[in-house]
Symmetry: C2
DNA sequence: ACAAAAACTTTACGCGCGTAAAGTTTTTGT
DNA sequence: ACAAAAACTTTACGCGCGTAAAGTTTTTGT
């Protein structure tokens, strides 16, 4: 590796003995040049380490190879995990993923879409905030930029939606809980940050009806993304109700359940299937920490791999189709019951 | 907002009635033009929504306004949290933060630095992987790109280091535990992913010596960033040792403790200060979930705000100094003991 | 061995901006 | 009100690349 720095493609082309337009062609697609010239260019690349100026490249391309990935709240390990999977797949495919988090704030989501728009990305994978999203802004964005929604759906927006099937989550948890004990009360947020929560409530209602039980819902107060805190505080309020409503609680998601379990512990209530236990708790999502709660949490798991694979597959299809699909499709993946100790 | 799209700054300048060089000046620094012309430009901006092409802008600037933020493992909520704070501060200051996660992989860290180098960032905030980092690559990167290290230090690399004082963590936890009960055994990883762990071990040794107790260390097997799993599995191994070593355990970090508490629960061991409890557990970091473990975890907290503020302050100083400091400085912030129920 | 096809070179222009230089207008300070 | 300073306009060039067009060399297939 010689130390003389190369300023631009012109200089590099001269050193490699290949003309600049051909070198340019190579960087756009190494397979588009003859094997012998490719070898010469790569030999020169070994010697001199040169990389095309990404800004000059992107200025002249209609679309870049950038992929915007937007999640609503990165401090939630669930999103960190799925973002990680998607990122790695993009890198493998020679694309440049750029990760953004809306941090639970509507304005920040708008700002992110704004700067994404000026980045001319080949595609955007957007998990919207949901209930509090500025629907108009997102709709307009999706008309300008090829976008696939994931995790939470906004009807009719984006080229496609990929996510888990909320009915599948709830049907499995309700079915299991009713089969193995008393029917569950649903513990959820009064004003959920995420539209999946609404779908889960509806699924709970319909499942309970189908099984011939009366649905009962406890709605926790509190806003924002501090679900554990809400689950804890409102869990205490729930537990302190007299008379006790039930011995079986189904939390809308694992993060609420983590707080709820903490409230049970605080009140000295033993949770689980054992004889000495007076409460059963289950939830949905299979959060990375659910294996380590006390007791470990019985939950229903997303199929991370299926969802992230499908997101990537749809993204590639979208890019090949020139950024637009004939019709919008929705892809829902079933969830898997994970039996642990809490119910 | 009229709908005719503006192609470039030339067109926008014409519409605003101001010459293009002055408009360019405005976008670089709105305060550098007369108030009256600024008003005219901003009036036109209201009407026509135009934004300079970032690629053309960045091509011509020696340095961009991009700030690279690199963390070792984003699925760890601790890093998600500190990244969030730093990101928001950059946005406030008119910079463009770009977040990367090494996902615990050496090669990915190298790739990230590689692509950051070609992005001509005004500055980079790097929390390196640590023990497994390719030290040579990072050293070379820091010579080319103005970089501030945070969270974990690499001696002599980067323009400055900002982080928490590991000795402060351990001195407070050990002091508290010895004062209120039996001296603690340190529960740590045999091959910690992070150099902070080594500093904590040394601090533990010296604190125990100073207080006149014999240091005892349990080293958990296992590699990678799945700390909870390691804490759980090796926690079981620790608890099953006969004879029992101690009733007081100090985990090197909270994520190990989350797994360890789960192991205690599994073995039916009651943890806490109460009369019926047979084990005390404490740790370090004040992980976002530590408030919701069962029992809630006594730990020592990073001063997130101080650290992230200082990181940002040093970044701004670095940019003003033209990317280089006269001498490398290290800034360590003391931690704060957080008493909860586990010890 | 030959023609056709493919891949290359040479030349040239354009992308959308930063920015320098020279000249003009507006503002500032007394 | 006046000169000096500041801010502007006009003109022009450069950044590092993509890419088109015309001409040349190399490869391919028979």
């Amino acid at each position: 590796m010689s130390e003389n720095k190369i300023r631009n493609m012109e200089e590099f082309a001269a050193l490699s003995g290949i003309s600049r337009p051909t070198v340019s062609k190579y960087f756009n697609n190494p397979d588009s040049v003859r094997a012998s010239t490719r070898a010469r260019i790569e030999a020169a690349l070994e010697e001199h380490d040169y990389r095309p100026n990404i800004y000059a490249v992107n200025q002249n391309r209609r679309l870049t190879k950038n992929i915007g990935i937007v999640v609503p709240y990165l401090a939630d390990p669930f999103f960190a995990e799925i973002a990680r999977k998607i990122e790695l797949r993009c890198i493998e495919a020679g694309l440049s993923p750029i990760l953004f988090s809306s941090h639970g704030e509507k304005d920040l989501e708008v700002d992110i879409l704004d700067s994404l728009r000026s980045m001319k990305p080949a595609g955007v994978l957007l998990a919207p905030l949901g209930r509090i999203s500025d629907r108009g802004v997102i709709e307009k964005f999706c008309r300008d930029v090829p976008t696939i929604l994931f995790d939470s759906n906004l009807d009719g927006i984006g080229e496609a939606f990929v996510g888990s099937d909320n009915f599948s989550f709830v049907s499995q948890s309700v079915e299991y809980l009713t089969r193995s004990g008393n029917p569950p009360v649903l513990f959820e947020m009064l004003r959920p940050a995420n539209p999946n929560a609404n779908k889960r409530r509806k699924a709970y209602m319909s499942m309970m009806e189908r099984l011939g039980f009366e649905p009962r819902i406890f709605q926790a107060e509190g806003d924002g993304w501090g679900f554990e805190e809400i689950g804890f505080k409102e869990g205490l309020r729930f537990l302190d109700q007299k008379p006790a409503q039930t011995d079986t609680v189904l939390c809308s998601n694992d993060r609420l359940a983590i707080g709820f379990l903490s409230a049970c512990f605080e009140r000295g209530i033993q949770v689980g299937r054992g004889e000495s236990c007076t409460m059963r708790v289950a939830a949905h999502d299979d959060h990375p920490f659910s294996r380590f709660t006390c007791p470990s949490l019985t939950t229903v798991a997303h199929d991370y791999d299926q969802v992230s694979n499908k997101v990537i597959e749809m993204l590639f299809q979208l890019i090949e189709s020139g950024g637009h699909f004939e019709s919008r499709s929705e892809h829902l993946y079933p969830a898997k019951l994970v039996l642990r100790s809490s119910a």
